[in-house]
């Protein structure tokens, strides 16, 4: 179970593969865990009117996002039998090919870990006040739209 203390989820810039490896390694002493489910969001080099996206600059209404994330966490822990759940989202600049979102759930059995991870990703994208500004090669930008 989780304490009620508000956890920070935001990290400056991209999330590195080494950070992800450390998170995984940190769970190897929890021997009641049978399965981990991980989602990673990566910045795509989309073409927008002939200009390539070179990165996304993320901003957030941080105080509200952390409150909402806490509410989502509580819902998820009430709904699924989880050992733990971790969420990291980038703020500031993330270049194409880099990772901007890391959602990591662990449970005794795979079904709970997978379903909880899936639901976390959907709710994070739909409910967290976070905005991505897609910066285009050369100059200019476009505001990212989730679907």
């Amino acid at each position: 179970m989780e304490a009620k203390k508000i956890k920070n989820i935001f990290v400056q810039g991209a999330i590195s593969p080494a950070f992800i490896a450390d998170s995984i390694a940190g769970h190897q002493s929890k021997t009641t865990i049978g399965g981990h489910s991980i989602f990673l969001g990566q910045v795509r080099a989309d073409m927008i009117n002939g200009q390539k996206v070179v990165g996304i600059e993320y901003t957030s209404y941080v105080e509200m996002a952390l409150d909402k994330m806490q509410e989502i966490r509580e819902d998820i822990f009430a709904k699924y039998e989880l050992s733990c759940a971790h969420v990291y989202h980038s703020l500031g600049m993330v270049l194409t090919g880099e990772i901007c979102l890391f959602v990591f759930t662990s449970a005794p059995h795979r079904r709970s870990a997978i379903d909880a991870c899936n639901e976390l990703v959907e709710r994070i994208k739909a409910e967290l006040p976070v905005w991505g500004k897609e910066l285009l090669e050369g100059e200019g930008h476009q505001w990212k739209v989730n679907n």
Binding site: Y61, C100, L101, K125, P129, W131, K133, N146
Partner: protein
């Protein structure tokens, strides 16, 4: 009452439309009144759906406001 003002934080694309990440505006008694005024004052808002958050919660119907309300204008979310 006419001395009262509201401060609103402005996020994402909306800060481009309003030209700032925070504005002081006249007082309105609820979010419906506020929304009406914003659409008149900033006609470009008509093109972009936006939510109003009061005290870090999205206002679902019309929410009463007071001078200390923490108000924020939120364009469509695009995290992840």
């Amino acid at each position: 009452m006419t001395n009262q003002r509201l401060h609103i934080q402005v996020f994402g694309q909306l800060s481009e439309i309003l030209g700032s990440t925070g504005v002081d505006i006249p007082f309105f008694a609820d979010t419906n009144e506020l929304r009406k005024w914003l659409l008149t004052e900033y006609p470009a808002l008509d093109k972009l759906p936006f939510l109003i958050a009061v005290d870090k919660k999205v206002s679902q119907t019309s929410t009463p406001l007071n001078e200390n309300a923490v108000i924020a204008l939120l364009p469509p979310f695009s995290g992840g």
